[in-house]
Point group: C2
Chain length 338, copies 2
């Protein structure tokens, strides 16, 4: 892959890159740049995670070393006990590579790091305090506002997390951080603050924020609103059937999933998206890319019901490539549902 | 000393004790309770420190073990470099016992602890994060407001310090914390927050806040507004002469110093406060306690000029009991003025 191709692959489908020129230079000068993404191993990973899992897959293919920071301290502060934590950690560290492998991408350049393995060191604490003398309460609040549930009476922890996220860039020795577009203000703060305590600013890459696949908004409390990576075929079909998707209108989670995730993966693997339907409804049809699909959907030549059935089948095919048996065992240990 | 006497000595001249009944019980049940006071080794210690130095002396006499936490991390965050820090630390750790010894009190139960010796441990960091999930930004701001210079755009560090102050009680294994009345909101927060993360609430003892000895307010930037423990005799006399002190009006730093500090120390040592003046101005006079002195002062039988001369002489006598040579050497290393 040429450096231009590596850059284009790294960049594709991103919402924004702070330091895009730096990324171009980085790829030119470094065969194996390092990127990190942080996530707290709390709730169950679900299909919505695929937006950044796909980007991590892109980056792996573009020659990046990918570090996934499993923020166990944050999970702990979020109410997960030390006892539960190991189980959750192990499940996350297993399901993430399984999904990426199912996309057809090698996970060899991927590494998992526990936050507690370095965030409790004396030097880290000292740096956190040093940074806290430079960040105003107002700016920390602004940075955290879109990510942390601050509510009417925010807790101090919510203002500390963004600083830790900035420091993690230095302690993980990365060139770039990846996150959703909701991280933008934290990323901007990290760019600003790290140099003030003697560390280099990192490239910040953002994936778009997608609407929930099923409802308009994904709700953590409503199990039915998310597709779990361990859902069986029937459950996937049932959940997909409930998905919000109006005929001819692309503004929904299903079309968004097609555009940003499924058609990208299928395209990478040279596969066509097949819709099976009786002849009286137009007969079978298949699409090589999202644009073709969208054209038919907007023209109401593709009905939501047929689309949803086809999507469910593709999801089930993808899930079928994962080592579900192993994952179920780990899920049982992590969430007590084995 | 009976337990009642120990309690009365511990309590005398305090502004407030949160947990006064607990203190009474503590003294009854424990021969050697532990108290801590924290101070950041930044600026030069001055005569204003004597309000809490005297209270530490009281507590030593009442059988307490006294831990003085020299908050080097806070000093560091306040702009003192690691290089300067050792020198400042050493000067503080020398001048504090010297002053207490000059008061006639044994410093055997006194210990100095560096904040960095335990505040950078992983467990401390974890506890800090745990506590930060319980403390709202609003409450931390309120707690810090009287102590930290928060200004219009306060830094996050100012909200973190009060939590550290609460945790220090646990990590120093103390029964009580001592501080000025300006610490009240932090102390209340500490009482509230430590139990939420499994630690016992401590007794909180406060000394009154005195007006500056020289000006109405002590100003850190104006050297002349404070009497330094290393000022020579002439400097003390010169500074005292500038002190704000209207005839017949007790509302000033000099009378406050007499009431809360000097007359207490002299009384403890069975000494009388002597004022020397020419016969035409009333001749020499001496006082056994503050009440007598105040009566004469209010009745304008004691002129501010005569009072100030006598106070300067007593301060110089006190300073004469300290190992000034040793302190000057350490001061030189700590502040580059040797």
């Amino acid at each position: 892959m040429s450096n231009d191709e590596r850059f284009e692959l790294a960049k594709r489908n991103t919402l924004e890159i702070i330091g895009e020129d730096e990324l171009r230079e980085l790829i030119k000068s470094k065969g194996r740049p390092v990127v990190y993404l942080g996530t707290a191993p709390t709730g169950r990973p679900h299909l919505g995670y695929m937006i950044w899992l796909l980007k991590l897959a892109d980056l792996l293919r573009a020659g990046f070393k990918v570090k996934v920071l499993l923020a166990d301290l944050h999970a702990l502060l979020d109410g997960v006990s030390w006892e539960e934590l190991d189980g959750r950690y192990n499940y996350y560290a297993a399901v993430i590579p399984e999904v990426i492998k199912a996309m057809g991408v090698d996970v060899k350049g991927m590494e998992f790091v526990k936050g507690s393995s370095f965030e409790l060191s004396g030097k880290y604490m000292e740096d956190l305090l040093r940074m806290s003398t430079n960040v105003s309460v107002r700016d920390a609040t602004k940075a955290a506002s879109e990510v942390v549930k601050l509510g009417d009476n925010p807790k101090l922890s919510g203002l500390i997390y963004p600083l830790m996220q900035a420091l993690d860039e230095e302690y993980l020795k990365v060139d770039m951080q990846l996150g959703g577009g909701d991280q933008r203000k934290i990323f901007v703060m990290a760019r600003e603050q790290n140099p003030k305590i003697g560390y280099k600013p990192r490239i910040e890459m953002m994936t778009p924020l997608l609407p929930g696949l099923i409802g308009k908004k994904m709700s953590a409390s409503d199990v039915g609103s998310k597709i779990d990576f361990l859902d069986d075929e029937k459950t996937v079909i049932k959940k997909m059937n409930k998905a919000y998707c109006l005929e001819g209108d692309v503004d929904n989670g299903v079309m968004s999933f097609m555009k940003n995730i499924l058609m990208v993966i299928m395209g990478d693997n040279g596969a066509r998206f097949k819709v099976e339907r009786p002849d009286k409804f137009g007969g079978n049809v298949s699409y090589a890319d999202y644009e073709e699909l969208e054209k038919d959907f907007v023209a109401k030549k593709l009905h939501p019901m047929d689309l949803k059935n086809a999507v469910a089948r593709e999801i089930n095919l993808l899930f079928g490539k994962m080592d579900t048996k192993k994952l179920k065992k780990l899920s049982g240990k992590g969430y007590g549902d084995g």
